[in-house]
């Protein structure tokens, strides 16, 4: 079977992905282009004994600027040498689309042109003579409509025919008239290079100053830089023209000729449906309310409803975890094998991220719909002016909203939604800013602290906390974009508002599933790396010899108590050895864990049946029913299980306290004390970030309290503790500024494709948090501020900074000179006359 490699190219919004889905069927593969986070979609299909591999290049307006997408697309053409290029054109916007077509034709490989959205063009009474286009460009031109599913067969046939007739292909050339001698010079200079591409194309690109091409040529022709400079200069001298704009104007003119000879727009100037809709959607007064409404719906459907769905999906994950546990070596009382501990830890970490899948599926589907409909660029258009001042992009809206612009969101989907932001710098800034937004899961934490320290001022404090986050996110992104991100590429805001389309069901589902699948694949690999490191940081160096003996003694005591009491039951001989007791204990705990994951009666029944098969004689101790003798064992078994859990918990706490992480908590006390944090708070923060379930246990028992008090936790906190409201404010400020969780950091790694940035996303907020908390705490301490005062000053400061950045124009006047006029004199002249 013959193989054909096809590159699918087209401008943004030309409906390239609908064409891709139309022909490629379900055999699709999605990955990233090497080194960047641009999606590389590959589809496979068979036609007429040919196997066709189609790679969807990123949408690009031209092939001569330096955006990330164009570089990726060019690298693909150079490195992977496709057999032919399929160029998708928006038939309702043919003139501008043809500009790219000419650049593709010049590459020197056969091109198949697809006039997509023919239905839209027809509806707008645009008549297109596709035969004539085909003759003029001497390449096949196919009419299609991806959204309506028309033209797939023709496209496939044309790809195969074109590939089979490759020998008949004649090099495509635009006559660049005055520039021709220079093109020939460069072509001559590079004619012996080994690059397989068309030399004329390489020469033209080099003259255009295309760095991708020049760098490649440099490998073989070291003085190419200087040579091209000479050519450009001499051209400039002779004609007073720049090669770049000269080439561009030739291509535009060529596109214009095709347009005028083949297209007849009868309704030119008439208002289209899109124009009418835009009058409402982009209306000065309505645009913002509509945008807020749509954002609210996306938030509601994906985050709120998606969360409800997780009630149904998590039992699957929990069942998976139980299944894994079944295969792991069992614990022997408090002696849990390392491999068991580590594997459960890994599965827990992965499950925490997998729990987001329903949310993501809905979110990605909604994003796909908004992209297809054409709302995404409009949203960016509406808000770009505001966001630009902070180094962000109009498209940063959605991530920030999901991250928690409203009542509280979640940074994980927020960061995941940054994928579509075209501007690399703004995308990075958004990824790093989203974790500052109001994380839903932080809310109970604030509620608790406020209840304890700010009873009368709870409402105002809550208002401060929930509204300050967006200002902080803005300031942070401004700081980052004007410092470490300032060298990042930024795309000029070239936002096209495409006509509205109906999304296709198939396209939306395929895209959402693909993105979810990529998420799953990455989570597995990244979780493995991150979780293993954290596990080690929490486990080592482990318990001291004395502690081990201490816990062994405790266990012995508990076991002998069990043994004494078990003697009273007639079933004693079933549990009279240590091994038997251990087995029974694991049997009991395993049963309970499984029951936790089944909510239905039928589910519970089937677990019962499984456990009866597993060990019939043990089952009576779990469910003694009317059997009095078994009930005796059941009672002490339950106690034994509780006691074992307590010992395990204490062991874990001691391990964490002595672990590398615990040491870190102590080590930073000299700094953190300025924020009012002692080492206990430090360990609390560190372990809550790193280890979910251990955080509670750690601190719960480390600082074990007399359990018998009936005081409400909040009251007890205020009365028993040595902390003041000012301490609470410092803790709150730190909490506001620090990243919500390890899951967020993992998606940051995913989206930035770099562990360095992930580390930065952890370290910078922590540094910021501790610095600001220290400043506020120390100032407050010295000036005798109350907690509310400290928080108010902090709030005013942040809002003021944000407003100053927002109100000052981001562009300074960067020209000077001209005629120095004496202003006073000038005025006088007018007055005199």
């Amino acid at each position: 079977m013959k193989k054909i490699k096809v590159a699918l190219a087209g401008q943004p919004n030309c409906g390239k992905s609908t064409i891709f889905n139309l022909v490629s069927g379900i055999e699709q593969h999605i990955a990233n282009y090497p080194g960047v986070t641009v999606d590389k979609k590959t589809g496979f299909f068979k036609y007429d004994k040919h196997k066709i591999e189609m790679v969807d290049l990123p949408g690009t307006y031209s092939f001569s600027s330096y955006s990330l997408e164009e570089r990726v697309a060019k690298d693909f053409i150079i490195d992977e040498a496709p057999d032919l290029i399929v160029n998708v054109i928006d038939a309702s916007n043919i003139k501008r689309n043809l500009y790219l077509t000419f650049q593709l034709l010049e590459i020197g490989i056969p091109v198949v042109v697809i006039l997509n959205m023919m239905d839209v063009a027809k509806r707008r009474d645009i008549e297109i003579d596709s035969k004539k286009i085909s003759e003029m460009l001497s390449c096949p031109v196919i009419e299609a409509s991806g959204a309506k599913g028309i033209g797939g067969e023709d496209i496939m046939r044309s790809i195969v025919e074109t590939s089979n007739n490759k020998h008949k292909y004649d090099e495509f050339k635009i006559n660049y008239e005055e520039l021709e001698p220079h093109i020939n010079n460069v072509e001559e200079k590079i004619k012996n290079t080994l690059l397989p591409q068309n030399k004329r194309w390489l020469a033209i690109k080099a003259l255009e100053g295309d760095q991708t091409i020049i760098n490649r040529l440099k490998n073989e022709v070291s003085d190419i830089d200087g040579f091209i400079k000479v050519q450009e200069d001499s051209f400039h001298k002779k004609y007073d023209k720049d090669t770049v704009s000269f080439l561009a104007s030739f291509r535009y003119d060529s596109a214009d000729i095709i347009y005028h000879k083949t297209v007849n727009e009868k309704n030119i100037g008439k208002e289209t449906l899109t124009d009418k809709t835009d009058k409402i959607i982009l209306n000065r007064y309505l645009a913002l309310p509509i945008l807020i409404g749509i954002m609210f719906m996306v938030y509601q459907i994906s985050i709120v409803w998606g969360y409800k769905l997780t009630d149904y999906t998590w039992p699957i994950l929990a069942a998976f975890k139980n299944l894994v546990i079944d295969f792991l070596p069992a614990a022997y009382f408090t002696d849990v094998p390392l491999i068991t501990d580590l594997t459960i830890w890994l599965v827990n970490s992965a499950n925490a991220l997998m729990n987001y899948i329903p949310i993501f599926f809905i979110l990605f589907a909604l994003i796909a719909i908004m992209e297809d409909v054409g709302y995404m660029p409009r949203m960016a258009f509406i808000l770009d002016r505001v966001f630009k001042r902070f180094g962000l992009h109009g498209q940063s809206t959605l991530p920030l909203v999901l991250g928690g612009a409203m009542v509280g969101g979640c940074a994980v989907p927020g960061v995941m939604a940054t994928k579509g932001i075209a501007d690399d710098r703004a995308r990075m800034a958004t990824i790093l800013a989203v974790p500052y937004m109001n994380c839903l899961a932080k809310v109970p934490f604030y509620t608790l602290l406020l209840g304890a320290f700010f009873k009368p001022d709870m409402a105002i404090m809550m208002f401060f906390i929930s509204t300050i986050t967006v200002f902080i996110a803005m300031i942070v992104s401004k700081i980052l974009t004007s410092t470490i991100l300032s060298t990042r590429e930024t795309a000029p805001f070239l936002m096209e508002l495409p006509p509205y389309h109906m999304p296709t069901f198939k396209g939306v589902i395929i895209r959402a599933s693909q993105r979810v699948w990529v998420y799953i694949k990455k989570v597995v690999t990244i979780v493995l790396a991150v979780a293993v490191i954290l596990f080690a940081m929490l486990q080592y160096p482990g318990l001291s010899k004395e502690s081990e003996t201490k816990y062994d003694l405790q266990l012995e005591k508990v076991l002998s108590l069990f043994d004494n009491k078990a003697k009273k039951s007639k079933y004693y001989e079933e549990v009279d050895t240590k091994d038997e007791v251990s087995e029974l204990l694991n049997y009991y705990d395993g049963y309970k864990a499984k029951r936790m994951t089944s909510s239905s009666k039928e589910g519970a029944q089937s677990i019962d049946e499984d456990y009866i098969i597993l060990n019939k004689s043990f089952f009576k101790f779990i469910k003694p029913r009317k059997d009095k003798e078994a009930r005796k064992i059941n009672k002490i078994l339950r106690k034994l299980s509780t006691k074992r859990k307590r010992i395990l918990r204490n062991i874990k706490n001691e391990k964490v306290e002595n672990s590398l992480l615990g040491m870190a908590g102590r080590a930073i006390e000299p700094f953190s004390k300025y924020a009012g944090f002692d080492w206990k708070i430090n360990v609390a923060f560190l372990s809550s970030f790193a280890a979910r379930e251990s955080a509670v246990a750690t601190l719960g028992s480390l600082y074990e309290n007399n359990k018998a008090d009936n005081m409400r936790a909040e009251e007890a906190m205020a009365k028993n503790s040595g902390y003041t409201p000012l301490h609470a404010v410092a803790i709150i400020i730190f909490m506001i500024l620090t990243p919500p969780c390890i899951a967020t950091m993992i998606v940051v790694k995913m989206q930035t494709n770099s562990y360095k940035w992930m580390m930065f996303a952890i370290a910078f907020p922590v540094f910021l948090g501790i610095t600001i908390a220290s400043i506020i705490f120390t100032l407050g301490l010295n000036n005798g501020w109350s907690g509310l005062e400290a928080m108010t000053y902090f709030y005013i400061l942040i809002v003021a900074i944000a407003l100053i950045i927002g109100l000052f124009p981001s562009k300074n006047i960067n020209w000077k000179g001209g005629m120095k006029l004496k202003v006073n004199g000038q005025v006088k002249v007018y007055k005199d006359n």
């Binding site: 709120v304 969360y307 997780t310 009630d311 998590w314 994950l317 827990n348 499950n351 925490a352 729990n355 987001y356 979640c410 899961a441 932080k442 109970p444 934490f445 608790l448 602290l449 304890a452 309970k592 029951r595 936790m596 994951t597 089944s598 909510s599 009666k601 469910k623 003694p624 029913r625 009930r631 059941n634 009672k635 339950r638 509780t642 307590r646 708070i681 609390a684 923060f685 809550s688 979910r692 379930e693 955080a695 509670v696 246990a697 601190l699 719960g700 028992s701 600082y703 309290n705 936790a713 909040e714 007890a716 906190m717 028993n720 503790s721 902390y723 803790i731 919500p740 969780c741 899951a743």
Partner: protein, 99 residues
């Protein structure tokens, strides 16, 4: 002093997106044990728990360090409620609690 850390710890643990879960067993001796937790393995220690009967709270408590609560089985219909805050509540009807 001690309590604040306890509280802090609990809330810190809830700083993860997760679903609240609870399951209850009838111990067969006139008591019911409910065990709470979160889907990511977080402990539910300290989470509020109450039992509703005719829209009235007839029992109120908190999850123990083992994320468990044991209470006397009420006569008549009742509902066990695990309350970890807005969006994190679980209701289980007494009639669904089996041995």
């Amino acid at each position: 002093m001690k309590k604040i850390i306890l509280g802090l710890a609990f809330v810190a643990s809830s700083m993860f997106a997760h679903s609240a879960i609870m399951s209850c067993f009838d111990n067969g001796d006139g008591t019911i044990t409910c065990e709470g937790g979160f889907s990511d393995g977080s402990s539910a220690s300290g989470v509020k728990f109450h039992v509703l009967q005719d829209d009235k709270n007839i029992y109120e408590s908190k999850m123990s360090e083992d994320s468990e609560v044991t209470f006397k089985k009420p006569s008549g219909a009742y509902t066990a409620v695990f309350n970890a805050g807005e969006g994190h509540k679980v209701y289980i009807k007494g009639s669904d609690i089996t041995e």
